[in-house]
């Protein structure tokens, strides 16, 4: 019984922690959308824009990955 309650708490906590992925998703969508628009307007700078886009996406994704790591730690380490 105690074990089940503990597991339920872990599952709920891990699910709640993944709300943080919301921000990363929005951020990646905005930055890629902006980058694609910019590339469409001046294709000559596509490589520069792409580099900066990958950099920005990596930073935005990092936040979502922190949420993922927290929920994985809740599930498998605690």
């Amino acid at each position: 019984m105690e074990h089940s309650v503990l597991f339920a708490g872990k599952a709920i906590g891990a699910g709640l922690a993944m709300i943080g992925a919301l921000g990363g998703g929005i951020g990646i969508g905005l930055s890629v959308g902006g980058a694609v628009q910019a590339m469409g307007r001046n294709p000559d700078f596509a490589s520069t824009i792409q580099t900066n886009m990958i950099l920005g996406v990596a930073f935005a994704e990092a936040v979502a990955i922190y949420a993922l790591v927290v929920s994985l730690i809740i599930l498998f380490v605690l």
Binding site: T48, T51, Y66, V69, L72
Partner: protein, 428 residues
Amino acid sequence: MINWNGKRRWVALILLIAGILVMLTVPPIIPVIQLPGEKYPGGGDGFHMTNSLMGSVLVWILLILLAFYINRKMPKSGDEVPSGGFYNLFEVLFEGLYGFILNIVGQKYMRFIFSFFMTILLLVVLSNWLELVPVVDSVGFLEPHITRDATTGAITYEAGYETTNSGGIYVLNPKCPWVSPTDALALTADAKADRASKGCLTGTNAAVAAPAPVVATESPAAAATPIANATEVVGEAAGVTTNTGETAGTTAPAAEHEYAPGDPSVPWVITPYLRSPSTDLNFTASLALIAVIMTQVLGFRALGISYLTKFFNFKTLFSSPLGGIDVAVGLLELIGEFAKILSFSFRLLGNIFAGSILLFVMSFLVPFLPWPFFILEFFVGALQGFVFGLLTAIFMSQATAGHGEHHDEEHEITEVTADNPVEIAPAH
């Protein structure tokens, strides 16, 4: 060489049929998922070989072999045409990446930065791809999945499986999750008959499963033996058939020989021999430390002691009305250097660890069609290695650029032509 034109579709069909066969005969099971690297049996209290460390040793060996191979295949003179498909592929990749990084960092520190970029890229990509190799994560030491209380010696049984023994090689039986004797009492007669029809030993009417070994009669020292010690013999016997004379039902064996491999009185799990090193925080954090520390080293090399003014900027504190902001910004930069270590290590760890769990779960849920996810993880692994190297290169080139006020004219021109993503030049 085989002509592959028009034959790849048959490969896909064969993979699908093989997946269905696997699903019907040996359905995959979800392994025990653990964030730190699993320890090898034995080794005492101090140093432990872990399977992720073994994975990184394998990656090092692969990298060294790659270096020798490339060096041997490299044309010695300029007019010689390189031979070998793999060498040509590597050369194309190398030159493409060289041009890409040259665009970002400029000529001056290219040699230093590109060597770090390429080393990190190859190391991380190879270790990410290790999780896609079939034997990794699935072949390993057979261990009883029990935890023992250090003081009382009470044994807690975790989830595990019964084993089947085919010629000395023990395989977890996915049809028979282990059922403890107390849980077996709660099973209905139908469930017991169903388990018996699948060839299971525990949780049936036959009651082959012996009661758990008596712990109370053991001496306290034996009861406090760490679990790794108790499973040493089991690990050895996983490959070779030894010590199988012990049948279930022998009472309270000695601590080292407590459970014969495949003993149905305990649940069994597998500790893999190999695991992708990127799923271990030790690997990613040490790579992140190397990247960030070498960034500082390059910053000092490029700018000398004035590199420190990036972090401790008291120059304008009294001369400018907004000097305090510069001090605060410098301190934020200092914090940012430490945040880089965290973000580097957790980005790689989170991506690859989550990816390997995705592969486990998908192989379990859709055993006949897991390989689209392997393709996904192939790209994720390559991308994460690339992002790790690219971020290192960009941070290094930022460190050489220094603070806007004091860098010489020649350096500035390099920055402008190099399409540096850091906005410095237009201000002047």
